[in-house]
């Protein structure tokens, strides 16, 4: 049997609501709105009587129903006869009413106008830029005092991070760089063979790996791998009060958490870049061996002639910057994490997206600057 409620008008002034049946969350039951509409539509009503005739069993849905009815009656100043309410139900209703209400100024939910929207987005960008610059300022102070020997970083922590961002990243960097070199070579050979200029595949692969792809690919790999890990680790530390504990034990979070990571990645990234560039060229070589009649020696001499030392320096400089950027973004987002597990996930995603976007933008800026100086 399902829950039943009936409203009868005894006379002009008195309404009776009789409640029966089984009221639980699995069965159908009436909704309070219909009753409230009826009650509110009778201005002459003064009293509402609640009757429980054949109530088999009940749970929170009945309580919820009654609370709605009682609130509606209260707002219309109707007297309600609650004497008949079974004691258990009455006690639970009273308990739910005794909970203190947190009266916070309710934020209006109305749709923002276009101007408000633009304003809020602008404000958000401004604020996040400001926190990032704030962070950068502290980081640079840390780096300078590290270089000046005033700050020491924990050697164990540093060694662990160094290993994590260096040796352990080699397999994935190898795989991706090899494939990228291979792909560039295949695509170029298709075009170049039409002119019988197969030999220039070495130039294309060499220059693109050295100047662009080597550092961009390692940057992106490291932001997905290491930047994310930094953000998640530090975010979890925030959630567990570990960062507060560092602060109240007198350790600077910048020196303790951020510096080892930033320094490690800034140092390791150029090495990864060199590795990546050579593996990429090797990938190109493999592709050329398979599809053309070039010899290894010819390919290598051609590469050596095509790639200049300044291409190499461009790559090194860019990869240092990218390493710094990835580590700083990961740490900064991690420190901003709020105190929930959900936020750690969100933080990690933001860190990865931000650093990838930042890498691409940085690269564009570098491209412009280098072309201005003719490097």
């Amino acid at each position: 049997m399902t829950g039943i409620a009936e409203l009868k008008l005894e006379n002009e002034n008195i309404a009776i609501i009789s409640i029966a049946g089984t009221w639980n969350i699995y069965e159908n039951h009436p909704h309070a709105e219909e009753f409230i509409d009826t009650i509110l539509s009778k201005p002459s009503l003064q009293k509402v009587d609640l009757k429980f005739v054949d109530l088999k069993s009940w749970d929170c849905v009945l309580i919820n129903f009654l609370i709605h009815i009682l609130n509606a009656c209260e707002s219309k100043n109707l007297t309600v006869n609650i004497d008949n309410i079974p004691t258990g139900i009455r006690r639970l209703i009273e308990l739910s009413k005794s909970s203190p209400v947190r009266n916070i100024s309710s934020t209006s939910r109305k749709k923002p106008t276009i101007l408000e929207f633009i304003g809020s987005v602008g404000l958000l960008i401004f604020l996040s830029l400001r926190t990032f610059l704030d962070f950068m300022e502290k980081l640079w102070v840390g780096i300078i005092s590290f270089i000046g020997g005033k700050v020491k970083i924990r050697s164990q922590e540093f060694a662990v991070v160094l290993q994590e961002v260096g040796v352990k990243a080699l397999p994935i960097v190898f795989l991706i760089s090899f494939l990228v070199g291979l792909i560039i070579a295949f695509v170029s050979i298709l075009q170049l063979s039409q002119f019988g200029a197969n030999i220039y595949v070495a130039n294309l692969v060499g220059i693109s790996m050295m100047r662009e792809m080597g550092c961009i690919m390692t940057g992106i790999i490291m932001s997905g791998r290491t930047g994310a890990a930094f953000a998640a680790t530090i975010g979890t530390m925030v959630v567990n009060d570990e960062v507060d504990a560092l602060q109240t034990a007198g350790f600077s979070t910048i020196n303790f958490l951020v510096l080892p990571r930033v320094i490690a990645l800034t140092l390791m990234m150029p090495l990864l870049y060199i590795f990546s560039a050579f593996i990429g060229i090797f990938g190109g070589l493999c592709a050329a061996m398979f599809t053309t009649d070039l010899t290894v020696v010819r390919y290598c001499t051609q590469t050596a002639n095509a790639v200049h030392l300044n291409d190499f320096f461009v790559g090194i400089i860019k990869s240092c910057f990218f390493g710094f950027l990835v580590a700083a973004t990961g740490c900064q987002k991690g420190l901003q994490c709020k105190r929930s597990a959900e936020d750690v996930g969100l933080t990690t995603t933001t860190a990865v997206v931000t650093s990838i976007v930042a890498i691409i933008i940085m690269d564009a800026i570098f491209a412009i600057v280098f072309s201005l100086f003719g490097i």
Binding site: P100, I104, S105, E157, V160, T236, M237, N240, D241, E242, D244, A245, L246, Q247, T248, A249, G250, F251
Partner: protein, 251 residues
């Protein structure tokens, strides 16, 4: 005498949400000072303000008569003056228990490695964790993490100890042991202790003075020894909060 900690007309808020207003109290040297109140009233928040983890205006919080904004920039303030036990222990998870306790010692003292190891073992045995030196925080239980957190908090024998709900999550024997340890630290070393707690047994057992933070009026509604609060307060919330402990208090 200048109070150890002095709070004057402090307002606490998260953005626009006012948590407590107009808090004023002094904590004297050598006291066990309790911050009590219903869940969600703002005790942990008050602790954050006292620890300088939330930004506070000038002339609101004083340590030994000096403004908190000027003392938190002195490097030794956190290391040597105060120790904190967080609600969940907050051990640094990448380090073993021994490393957790040793880190402040390595940083702030000129002690040699051997002596540090001995002190670490001593502190861990004070909280009943001898033999767990090389365990990582993830390998021990919640209550044990908390006790290890205490060992870390007292590593440098600070002047003031802060506890956020020290006995929550501990069985009654461990909780009693913790109370005894706190009393011992206070008596033998003259440490000042500030405790946020719900635990009525320890409120009456160790508290020298308490303030009650009231959710409804959003300020301090009672101040005094725990017994004074129970006997002579005319605030019904205070009585309700403490009266579950009457039996313990008299027994």
């Amino acid at each position: 005498m200048v109070p150890k900690i002095s709070v004057k007309n402090l307002n606490m808020a998260y953005d626009k949400y006012m948590v407590m207003r107009n808090l004023s109290f002094d904590v004297q040297q050598g006291e066990i000072f309790l911050i009590i109140g219903q869940s969600g009233c703002g005790k942990s928040t008050l602790l954050k303000y006292l620890l300088g983890l939330r930004r506070v205006n000038h002339q609101k919080i004083f340590y030994d008569g000096r403004d908190i904004n000027s003392v938190i920039n002195v490097p030794s303030f956190y290391g040597e003056k105060i120790g904190v036990l967080y609600q969940g222990g907050a051990l640094w998870s990448s380090m073993t228990l021994a490393e957790n306790v040793a880190l402040p010692l390595e940083t702030y003292t000129p002690l040699g490695r051997e002596e540090i190891e001995e002190i670490v073992t001593l502190k861990l045995s004070l909280v009943g964790l001898k033999g767990f030196e090389n365990f990582y925080p993830s390998q021990i239980s919640g209550g044990m993490q908390k006790r290890a957190g205490l060992a870390r908090a007292i590593a440098l024998d600070p002047e003031i100890l802060f506890f956020d709900e020290p006995s929550a999550g501990l069985d009654s024997v461990s909780a009693k042991r913790l109370d005894d340890l706190i009393l011992e630290l206070k008596e033998s070393l003259g440490i000042t202790v500030v405790i946020v707690t719900h635990d009525l047994a320890s409120i009456f057992a160790i508290g020298t003075r308490a303030i009650y933070l009231d959710v409804e009026s959003k300020t301090i509604t009672a101040m005094g020894t725990p017994h004074e609060l129970l006997m002579s307060s005319n605030d019904k919330n205070v009585i309700a909060f403490l009266s579950r402990g009457t039996k313990i208090a008299q027994g």
